[in-house]
Structure formats: C-alpha cells, structure tokens
Symmetry: C2
Subunit: 193 residues, 2 copies
Amino acid sequence: MSSAERLIESTRELLWERGYTGTSPRAIQQRAGAGQGSMYHHFSGKPELARAAIGRTAEEMRATAEAVLSAPGPALERIAAYLHRERAVLRGCPVGRLTQDPDVMADATLSEPVKQTFAWLVGRIAEVLREGRDRGELDVALDPESTAATVVAVVQGGYVLARAAGSSEPFDRAVSGVASLLAARGTSARNDD
Amino acid sequence: MSSAERLIESTRELLWERGYTGTSPRAIQQRAGAGQGSMYHHFSGKPELARAAIGRTAEEMRATAEAVLSAPGPALERIAAYLHRERAVLRGCPVGRLTQDPDVMADATLSEPVKQTFAWLVGRIAEVLREGRDRGELDVALDPESTAATVVAVVQGGYVLARAAGSSEPFDRAVSGVASLLAARGTSARNDD
C-alpha cells in the first residue's frame, strides 16, 4: 500500500473508533506509519484526509447495501437480508457515528456524504418495498417511504443499543423484531390468517 | 443556581453537544461561569462531573419515558405516545450519543448509567406490550422482547437519520412507520380485515 493509501485507511479506522474530534493528525500518522512530511505532501491536512476517508466509507456502505437489496427474490426477503447481514455490531456504523460528531456535521464537505448515503439508503429500500407492493407481495396499505425510514432507523438504533449493552444481542433483537412486523404485512402471511 | 449546580448543568449541555472527548474542563468552566478553583473545589475533575451529569441525564430520560408508558390506556396508545413525544430531534439523544464516545464506553462508571437506562427502557416497553397482549389488545404471536428492542432502536436510529439529513423529517417518518407496523398487530386492526 502506498503511504497516501495507508493514511486514508488509518483515518477511516480512527474516525470509526474515535470520531473526527477525537482523532489527531499525529494519531493518523502513527497508525499509518507515515511521517508528518509524508502526510502534508499528500494531503493539505486532517480535513482533506477525512473527506477522502468518509467518501470511501460511505461508498462501501452503499455498495454493501446495494448488493443485498438488488439480489433476486421477494422484497421482504431482500430487506430481511439487509437487516440480518453480517456486521461488526459493537463497532457501530462507520457512517452513522459521524452524525454525533459536531465538527463533521458543521462542515458541509464532510457531512454531505453522510447525508447522501442515508438519503440514498432510505430511498433504495422504499423502492424495494414499492416493487414488492406492485408485485402483490405486500399489503397495499403499507407506506414504502415511512417503512423504509423505519428499517434504516432500526439498524442505526440497533448499533446504539448494542454499544450501550456491550453485546450484539439487542441489535439482533431489534432487527428480528422489525423483520417479524414486516413479515406480518406480507400477503402470504395474511393468507395464513 | 449554586456553582456546583451550574457546573453539572453545563457539563450536561456540553456532553450533549460535543461529547465527552470533545469537552474540556476549561469549556465547562466557561459555560458555567465558574473558575478552575471552584470546579476543583466541588469536583475532583472532569470524570466526576461527567458522572454526575450523565447520571442526571439518564434519570431524566427514564422519568420522561415512564410518564408516557405508565399512563392509562391501551398498550399501543402508550407506545405511540412514547414514539411521538416531543423531542429536540436534531440535537440527538443525550444518552444514546454517549455510546459513540470511546472514552465514555471505556470507563465503567460513565457507561453504566447508559447501559442501565437502555436495558430498563427496552424492559419497560416489553412489559407494556405483554400487558397489551394479556388484555387481548395485541396479536398473541407478537414477541414483546424483540418488538420492544425495535421500538427503542427506531427512536435512536431516527435521531441518526435526522441529524444526517439536517431535518427532523426522517425521524418522524421512522416513528410513524413503526407505529403503523405495530397498529397492524393490534386486535382491533385485525378485526377490521
């Protein structure tokens, strides 16, 4: 890995672990095994490095979600796959945690990828739900937009509960809970009544 | 307000806005209008002040939740009241945001109130759901424990989405979405089928 690459990857890790405010240029250099000269040769400073790191993390989150959401199969299965996909639950969401970082949210170039990623994710899940509804898989009374926001919120809040408990159990419960509530709105569940 | 009191209240505000890592003893003194001597007369340092501040914030969150959850009325109405209660959505949850603070989570005396508060909240909502189920208000197939985790996660994740968007709208959508999913599991909704 080039030193520019190591600096970006180290910044991504530190932002995930300690946030922007808690990450010093020195800590980035140490983790990357790069000197101050090397860092300022490649990047104008911590903000530019953070922009590269946040952009890459956001892109990765989007690609991972898209992979499960665009898979073939019924809408509720794809959403269940999104909910249950493997995650480093106790580390929290690398994008979601940035919303608690006042210095990230105060800087439009840092907060923009965070905003875009969640807007895209909620929109994409709403699309999957609309598809399911149009194919007759889901109760027509189900509102795709608010349900999509619920699905994304459960995952983000599940991280909060897991970190509070020091255990992934509350995350698993929260996602199973919403998966059951959704399953009850599937037309096959209704036919079983 | 006494200066000890002002110091605790200022710490609460700063923890909410900037987190533990982002809050210096000096910032606390400035916000409280108290000198360094006064702060160290009342408290041994930032950790002790933060313990007092976090304890008080956690207690307040619990009392607010208990007020709506212990109100008279059907289980789903009490949970809807919890979901829709007025919140400073864009400020985020003063307790939930601490889970993203590595220095809080690494210190057992600081993280314990966070852990206890969420454990209590999920347990209390599960209790309300069990009551509703026992009174025949809810589908017997609804699992109170996982559904309670879902409800709390939606609120916590709703804050994340709202802060990402810079608007309370995604929070409102997420809570309406889960309220609709829950309403569909009510026995009165089922009778309407």
